[in-house]
Amino acid sequence: MRKLLFMAPMAIYVALMTAANATTLDDIKKKGFVQCGVSQGLKGFSSPDDKGDWTGIDVDLCRAVAAAIFGDPGKVKFTPLSAKERFTALQSGEIDVLSRNTTWALSRDTALGFDFRGVTYYDGQAFMVRKSSGVKSAKDLDGATVCVLMGTSTSLTLADYFRSNNMKYEPITFEKDDEVVAAYESGRCDTYTTDSSGLYANRLTLKDPGEHMILPEIISKEPLGAVVRHGDNQWGDIVSWSLYAMINAEELKIDSKNAAGMRESDNPEIRRLLGTEGKFGEGMGLSDDWAFNIISTVGNYSEIFDRNVGKGSPLGIPRGLNALWNQGGIQYAPPIR
């Protein structure tokens, strides 16, 4: 009996230690799904539709990762997180990947213990005001009360912008996106600031979207991307190459409809991407048709962009910076070889 008393805690420690040492990919394969951290509802990026299914460009990235691993984009579970909760959830291992319109910035990449894995969407911060306020430029906002999301890079950029332009402001910070929007709509604030994509998305939810306008100034660089814990490079590679596969597919004009036919293409680049030639999945612990599974089930980058935020969606945001590098934008993926 006494022996057992000592053995039991030891056994628990040993179990904990081994669990901590397994790789993220092994864990995911064992449990059978990817646990993906998303927002609590930002249209176009991650929000549940009327049937309760998650949709959005950030959501599609997670589905792509699931398709790369399991060949099935459905093997993913979503954890809605507030901006405040997101980093702790990733650090603690509650989620495997954070795909929640999160800005890539130095301190997050280094001191927080994370790795950013590519840029899903190039964004920039802007302001929304009431048309009746008569404000035409962000430079007119001296003395304004500003609604902003708590603990975001947005709130820091906001502080920098007013400081560098020698203007005064009063920040009203909330933990949730819908609380910020509600406060702006009730007139608690003169202006609402977040990434411009977020402004377009949230303007749709206002009572009278035509009442409000987005000011022309873009005051920051906001490269939004997926984040993983620092230290498990194999898992990080899977996440970044899932994105690159979709961008490369757009460049090579492979989409979800023609992917199957393209496998027999003569173009070696297409053959490598779709796994007909070479063994490119091996290095990541995946099968060689990993990219084919992504493209045939989730689509290429232009498909996920258009249906979530682009011309096929209510948001109707132009490609802009997010066009491919050879079409006037800066989306660029390293080659698969």
């Binding site: 008393l5 805690p9 001296d142 708590m150 709130s155 909330f174 933990e175 230290g231």
Partner: protein
């Protein structure tokens, strides 16, 4: 007596098992701590408290001390702590006053008054506090008009940016008025003592309440007028988007203050009622038989005895109110849980340090409050002879 082997000696066994339990617990906590540190190092997460000296870079809407985006996280912590103390301090005062009034009204022989107090208590203590906070914030305060259409009463303004009041600005010579006030306070103290002495020796006290009120207001006002009114009021004026100048209470602060004090007052009212009812009815009758008026019976006989029962649970309510102020994170009032355990945690990613500091702060606030209340309690406790 036959000598027992040591493993059959109950004292040795007891000692052994207690040591084993202590060692196991110590080993467990050591393992947890070292495991955490290992994992943090492996993940390359920064640790330690150095971040408190880094630049915060974010703005805070209400600060009692000098603060700007260029201040440090440590400074932001102080700002947040003071905001917590501000709302907790005002909340405790308001809740206590309100709670006593309602608790006594609950026992009033006036049917309507006691029923109204009963309804108040049952409504406010049975609705979750978070809902009450959101009610005050979204249903009441955010429906106020925009700054340009403010409700105005004299120099007081009310709009959805808050309650604006004229701010008194002291001029040279105002110090005399303050001194006059201090002198008035001392004079009233002496008066109270003298009145007590007179009551004990000559049988009748002085009308102390009126004298004190007269002293405390009359003397400073007299000096104020003699020195030529060395003070003016700065009134709020509309500049651009908002009013500036004057004093201002944010709607977030008001909503939180209302919700916290109204909610806590319902509990305090019940505690006060319990305290008063714990005093034997015979004490009332004895007081009335001596010819004391009802309010004197309450003030001189019932409440001093009731306080013994009231103080310990009242202390818990004060602690609850302080800790409940952390619910403010839901409505953008910049207090400790929202600024420090929210924004700062998010920016630095140092959850363990930030949460440890936050918990330590709430713990020390609670311990300090209960220490003060225990001191008071030991003064009023019934001394048995």
């Amino acid at each position: 007596m036959q000598k027992q082997p040591p493993w059959n000696d109950p004292r040795v066994r007891g000692w052994f098992f207690q040591m084993a339990a202590v060692l196991l617990a110590a080993g467990f906590f050591f393992n947890v701590a070292s495991n955490t540190l290992d994992n943090l190092r492996q993940l390359n997460v920064a640790s330690g408290f150095g971040f408190l000296e880094h630049t915060a870079g974010f703005g805070i809407s209400q600060s009692l001390i000098e603060y700007s985006e260029a201040s440090t996280y440590g400074r932001a912590f102080l700002v947040a702590l003071l905001n917590t103390l501000l709302v907790a301090g005002f909340g405790i005062i308001l809740a206590t006053v309100l709670g006593f009034v309602i608790g006594i009204a609950r026992l009033s022989p006036n049917w309507l008054l006691s029923r109204l107090a009963g309804v108040y208590i049952e409504v406010f203590r049975n609705i979750p506090l978070l809902l009450q906070i959101l009610f005050w914030y979204t249903a009441v305060l955010s429906n106020l008009p925009r700054p340009r259409e403010s409700l105005q009463a004299g120099s007081f303004l009310l709009n959805n940016r808050g309650l604006y009041m004229p701010a008194p600005i002291a001029e040279a010579g105002f110090g005399y008025v303050l001194w006059a006030f201090v002198i008035a306070v001392f004079a009233s103290l002496i008066l109270w003592r003298y009145s007590q002495w007179r009551r004990a020796n000559a049988g009748a006290g002085l009308p102390v309440l009126w004298c004190t009120a007269g002293l405390l207001t009359g003397l400073p006002v007299l000096v104020y007028l003699i020195t030529g009114a060395p003070m003016h009021f700065e009134t709020p004026e509309l500049h651009g988007f908002n009013f500036s100048g004057g004093l201002r209470a944010m709607p977030e602060f008001l909503a939180l203050l209302f919700a916290l004090s109204i909610y806590t007052a319902a509990f305090i009212a019940e505690i006060v009622r319990a305290g008063i009812q714990s005093v034997n009815w015979g004490q009332n009758e004895a007081g009335l038989a001596l010819g004391l008026r009802r309010k004197d019976v309450l003030r001189l006989i019932v409440i001093p005895q009731a306080l013994r029962v009231i103080i310990p649970p009242l202390t818990s309510q004060f602690l609850n109110l302080t800790k409940n102020s952390s619910l403010a994170a839901a409505l953008a009032y910049p207090e400790l849980a929202s600024v420090f355990a929210g924004t700062v945690l998010n920016q630095t990613g140092q959850a363990i340090e930030v949460l440890a500091i936050t918990m330590a702060v709430y713990l020390s606030l609670s311990l300090a409050t209960s220490f003060a209340m225990n001191l008071y309690n030991s003064r009023i406790v019934l001394v048995e002879r």
